[in-house]
Symmetry: C2
């Protein structure tokens, strides 16, 4: 199976490293995953016989650029999608929650060119879910996006496949590791929000501009994706009631603890309503996971409650989810 | 898709009730699941146009028997497998961890007659895993057994599909709800093992003869199935070091709590070794789930730790797992 990776930041390089370092074992178990193109804003490298990924990664990490030795002219991502022969586009450019671009265009152009798509990109899915899914169907290609929610934590495919036959009545969970880290820190060390945030930034768990995480937009985008993909709704970010964690104090956490609760930033879908807000969670609840962990609880008619816990971010962790989608497609080609 | 249910106890009837009560919704989403035969030790009912499941369940629950109005002669399960036209055998006779029978024969005879098999029966899988899997492959039929471990909790298919591409380095978990109920009760109410066991029996969580649960054999059978199916080992129950929970005292639980731990009966597969024994688990670990819940933690190379929590038993819960396997097969026929 021939793959093109569009976007070569932490996630794209993480996937490339995994495909390179596990090449032999993956080939034995599932067949070959041949990366024939890698591109980002800095350029594109293409080799229809399969790129030397080790070299591509090294050059990118040394020079900051993708340099193509073979082609006479510069190829844009859209050129790659239109002109190069491959089976699956892996779309992992940075998420944009306002426009969904450039990922949306890359994805639609891939469908049009009969390429299956695997993505880790929340933006286009949170904004244009229905359009994208219908477009994939129209062009008879697969569209998989496990990595958009919960990183390595199985969630979308788990609900749609392992819980197939169940009606999913509600989903609630911690879908953002940064806020969980901050709240865990505030609870354990009785420090205030600003102090915990600063440490999260120093450790690389929070961005310099932490708003998308701490104000709840990141979680909102994820529950929109879950609502649409798992529960068959047709929601967008503007349908989510969002409240972040900036006003949570160590005193509030202390008082909650005294009554047998903790406070977590929870994303919830229930009775057609989407909410992101700090909620009281019983200390003994499976939702009370610590540090940067993510967790999701499904309420279903047959299986009742099913909970899954995992790492919501990280290069290898996200690669794990992308790879499971690539393998799923590989088995069907 | 035509289905025969072999075994009509709690699990078989639970599946029949689900197929009957969700008939319309399942048909819309996945197509038809037509049950053409149901049999157990008391007899067999057959209708190649599809049984009236509501009636079959009612008669069985009223008379204790399966009564066939259509056929002149009594059909045994093997007669049904050999003579009736259907696609999938659902084997849900009682588990026998010493011989694996009669399930093993039902499963092998199904393969021979080109029937796919879905089972909730631990016995044959814990004793003859390799033989069964190879036999299914030889006859080119599907063999699915999600319901054998962890009830409604997704575990086998989760590891093989959602975590495909990962190397599973270790698995540990609470795979028996009865022992978890007893230990939770002892911990919370400071009662001894016998008292907690008695209450579990009164509530129907433990059998009159509780040995398979409390002495660890049930958990051992399940980790054998996980070791073979997920980690590609070739183990049998005799390869498991087994220790039960009879010697755990409320004092031991109290002391563990004081140090930040609890005690759980854990099944573990690590470095080719299979162990079932009471282990100290940090109070904050995702493995510290309460009551009758089951939990499993996978340690993997890419996703790192992934934890899943769910209900390990119950008629509808087991039906959920069987149904996910039936749907999986339906999609491939």
């Amino acid at each position: 199976m021939k793959v093109a990776i569009i976007g070569f930041g932490v996630v794209g390089r993480g996937l490339a490293k995994v495909l390179y370092s596990k090449e032999k074992c993956l080939k034995e178990r599932f067949g070959e995953f041949k990366v024939v193109a890698v591109c980002d804003r800095s350029g594109a490298v293409v080799d229809e016989d399969g790129l030397n990924l080790k070299e591509v990664i090294e050059v990118k990490e040394k020079t900051g650029k993708l340099i193509n030795h073979d082609k006479g002219r510069e190829l844009s991502p859209l050129d790659v999608i239109r002109e190069i022969d491959f089976d699956v586009t892996v779309e992992v450019t940075p998420s944009n929650l306002e426009t969904g671009e450039p990922a949306k265009t890359h994805i639609l152009e891939s469908f049009k060119n009969k390429k299956h798509v695997v993505t880790a990109n929340k933006g286009p899915l949170a904004l244009y879910f229905k359009e994208l899914v219908e477009n994939a169907k129209k062009h008879e290609v697969y569209f998989r996006y496990e990595a958009t929610v919960g990183g390595a934590m199985p969630i979308i495919n788990l609900a749609k496949e392992n819980l197939a036959g169940n009606e999913i009545l509600a989903i609630r969970g911690i879908l953002n590791g940064t806020t969980n880290y901050i709240l865990t820190k505030m609870e354990k060390e009785k420090v205030d929000f600003e102090t915990a945030l600063k440490e999260a930034q120093e450790l690389g768990y929070a961005e310099a501009n932490p708003s998308q995480d701490v104000d709840g937009l990141d979680t909102a985008a994820k529950i929109v994706i879950l609502a649409n993909s798992i529960m068959g709704l047709n929601k967008s970010i503007k349908d989510v009631r969002i409240k972040g964690i900036r006003k949570i104090t160590p005193e509030a956490l202390f008082l909650a603890n005294k009554r047998g609760y903790t406070i977590k930033l929870i994303g919830e879908i229930r009775e057609n309503r989407l909410v992101v807000e700090p909620m009281l969670i019983p200390l003994e609840s499976p939702l009370n996971v610590k540090g940067t962990l993510n967790v999701a609880m499904f309420e279903t008619d047959l299986a009742k409650e099913v909970v899954v816990v995992g790492r919501g971010a990280g290069a290898e962790e996200t690669a794990s989810a992308i790879l499971s989608d690539l393998i799923w497609i590989k088995k069907r080609l």
